[in-house]
Symmetry: C2
Subunit: 334 residues, 2 copies
DNA sequence: CTGTTAGCGCTTTCAC
DNA sequence: GTGAAAGCGCTAACAG
C-alpha cells in the first residue's frame, strides 16, 4: 500500500505538494500537478484515512450498537442508518451486544477507542450509566427504541404504548373480551410499554384487566413458546393474544399449533414488528409495523447535526407506526 | 477525550511509562504503576486505536460489503461475520452497495483507505477486476456466495446448483411434470446456477427442458411478481414453480394470489433462502436453507488465518444446504 | 526502572 | 509554486 511519500518520491516533489494536489488546496504548477497525478495513478495510491483521522480527530465513522441483530426489524434499522451515513460520507461500524450488559460495555469502549464520531445505541437495559459514559468522552450518542425519561440524551423510537393500545383495540372491536399479552422482560421499557397500552385499551373499553393474562419473558422464540404454554394452562383461556414482537409471536404460534389450536379459528393473534407487507405470505400475523429504516436514518441524522456543531436541545423523536392487517384475527367463538 | 500524554502528565511520568503500564511491557515500579493506573481511571482514559493503527499498520477491522442488505438471509451472514470477528478482537465496517457496480467500487476504495485488515465481498457482478484491485493493495479478500471459476481468491458459498437440483427433484417426486423456474439475472452465477440445477434435475428424470419456462429477472419482489405474471400467460401452464430466492417467491406468490391461484392447491412453489424453520409460520414455502451465519463466520475465519500470516492455497469453501419442508407443495391435479 | 527519540501517514502553518 | 517542520496518539529501540 503506497503512502503519500511514495507518491512524492515518484513525482519528485514533497508530500506537501502531493497533499495539495489531492485536496486541491494552494497553488500547484500545472506541470507538477500532472506529474503527481500520474504517480498517484501509477501507484494506485489512496490516501489513508487513519493518517487523516489522527490529524483531524475525526474518523468519519459512526458506531451502531445493536442488542440482537437477529430480528427482521433490526436489519431495516441497520440499513437505514448505513444508507444515511454513507450518503453523508460516513461509514458504519456494527457491533452486536447479544443482549449482554458486559458486551455492551466493551462495544462502547471499543467504539470510543476507535474514536467514532457518534454512536447509535439500542441499549440492552434501562441503565443510563453507559450513556453517560459515552457522553463524558464527548461523543454524541442517540438511543434507539428505548424511552429515556428525564435523560439528557437524544432518543428515536415509536410510541409503542399507543401502538399496543391500537392493536388491542382491534381485537376488542372484533368482539374479543378475554385477551392475553405476552411480552419481553418486565424491567425493559419496550416490553412494559406494550403491556401498558394493552391495559389502557382494556380499561377504555370497560373490560377488566386480569394480570394473570399478562406474561413477561424475553423477546425470543423459545420464550414466546414457553409463555404460550403458560397461557394454555389458564382456567379461563383467552380468545386472543397480543405478542410483544415477531419472535415471541412465532414461538407462541408454534406452541399453539402443536397443541392443535388453529389460528385464527381457535385463537386470534396480533404482534409487533413482522416484516413489511410485501415481504410476507398471507396468512400472516396482523401486526404493528415500526418504520425501522426511518429510525436508523433519523438517529444518524441527529448525530450528524450534532457533529456539524449545531446546538440544540436533546430531543425524543417519536416515529409513527401503522398496523398491517393480515389473517390472524377471527371473531371469538361463542 | 484524554490522550496518553494527559495521563502521563497527571501521573508525572512520560507517555512511554504509561504505555508500558497499559501493555504490561517492561518493568514499572509498583508505586509508579499505581500512580499511572489512578490517572488512567481518573481521566477515564481509553487508548486510541487510531494512534495504534498508524503505528502497527493494523486496524483490527474487517470490511463487509453486501450488495443488498434487505434479505433475511443476509442478516444471518452479517451476524455470523460480526460475531466471529468480535470474538477475535476485530470490528466490522458494513457497507451496502445497493447492487451498484459504482457503489461497490467506492465501498472498496473506502475500505482500502480505512486500511481494513481484510474484506468480505458479496459482489454485485461477475467482474473480477474489483477483486484484483483489492488484492493489489495487499489486502486479503474473500468472495461470498459467488463462484469465481479459475480465480485466485478465496470463496465461501453453497452448492446452489445441487440445491436447486434437489429442490426440483422434490417437485418431480411429488408428481410434477410441468415445472417452471424464475430466478435472478442471467449474467449472475447465483441465478444461472439455480437454472442449471433445475435443468439437470429435469433431464435426469427424463423430462423435457422447456426454455420458455425459465425466466430470468432480478432478485426482487417486483421482479418475482412480473415473472409470475409471464408464467400465467404460457399456453401450457406449469403446475409448480421453483423460485430463485425469498424475494422472488414473495413477489410471485402475490401475483398468483391476485390471479386467484391458490398455493399449493392450484400451484406448488419452492424457493431458496427463506428464514430458518423456527422463524416462520406454517403455511410457508418449502425452501432451500443456506447456512448464512456459517458463511459469514467462515469468510471471516479465512481472512484471520491469512492475516495470521498463514500461507495457504486459495480455497473454495462449499457449505452444505438443506431443505426445510413446509406446505407449499401439493400433488398436481390431473 | 524510566526517559529520550523517532516514526507510522497525513495536513498545515510558515518560509523561501 | 514549493519545501521544511511540526504534530495528531501511540509504541519500540536505545540510553541511562
Amino acid at each position: 500500500m503506497a503512502t503519500i511519500r511514495d507518491v512524492a518520491q515518484l513525482a519528485r516533489v514533497t508530500p506537501t505538494t502531493v497533499s495539495r494536489v489531492l485536496n486541491n488546496s494552494g497553488y500547484v504548477k500545472e506541470d507538477t500537478r500532472k506529474r503527481v497525478e500520474t504517480a498517484i495513478a501509477d501507484l494506485a495510491y489512496l490516501p489513508s484515512t487513519v493518517g487523516q483521522s489522527l490529524r483531524f480527530k475525526r474518523t468519519q465513522t459512526l458506531g451502531l450498537v445493536i442488542s440482537d441483530i437477529s430480528s427482521m426489524f433490526w436489519i431495516t434499522v441497520i440499513r437505514g442508518a448505513e444508507r444515511f451515513a454513507r450518503a453523508h460520507g460516513y461509514s458504519l461500524v456494527l457491533i452486536d451486544t447479544e443482549s449482554s450488559e458486559q458486551q455492551q460495555q466493551s462495544a462502547l469502549e471499543n467504539l470510543i477507542r476507535r474514536q467514532v464520531d457518534g454512536i447509535i445505541l439500542m441499549p440492552v437495559s434501562a441503565r443510563t450509566e453507559p450513556i453517560r459514559f459515552v457522553q463524558r468522552q464527548g461523543i454524541p450518542i442517540v438511543v434507539l427504541d428505548h424511552p429515556m425519561r428525564d435523560e439528557q440524551v437524544d432518543v428515536v423510537r415509536c410510541d409503542t404504548e399507543q401502538a399496543s393500545y391500537d392493536l388491542t383495540r382491534l381485537l376488542i372491536e372484533r368482539g374479543h373480551r378475554k385477551i392475553a399479552m405476552i411480552t419481553g422482560p418486565n424491567n425493559f421499557a419496550t416490553a412494559t410499554d406494550r403491556a401498558d397500552g394493552y391495559r389502557r385499551a382494556l380499561r377504555d373499553a370497560g373490560l377488566p384487566v386480569d394480570e394473570t393474562r399478562i406474561l413477561y419473558g424475553r423477546f425470543l422464540p423459545e420464550s414466546g413458546a414457553a409463555m404460550a404454554a403458560k397461557l394454555l394452562e389458564l382456567d379461563d383461556r383467552p380468545t386472543a393474544v397480543v405478542t410483544g414482537n415477531d419472535f415471541i409471536a412465532l414461538g407462541a404460534a408454534n406452541t399453539f399449533r402443536k397443541a392443535g389450536i388453529r389460528i385464527p379459528e381457535d385463537l386470534s393473534m396480533v404482534t409487533f414488528d413482522v416484516a413489511p407487507e410485501d415481504l410476507v405470505l398471507d396468512p400472516f400475523f396482523t401486526s404493528v409495523l415500526q418504520p425501522g429504516a426511518l429510525m436508523g436514518e433519523r438517529a444518524a441524522e441527529i448525530l450528524l447535526r450534532r457533529l456539524d456543531g449545531q446546538e440544540m436541545p436533546y430531543e425524543e423523536v417519536l416515529l409513527p407506526t401503522r398496523i398491517a392487517e393480515f389473517s390472524s384475527i377471527a371473531c371469538p367463538r361463542a
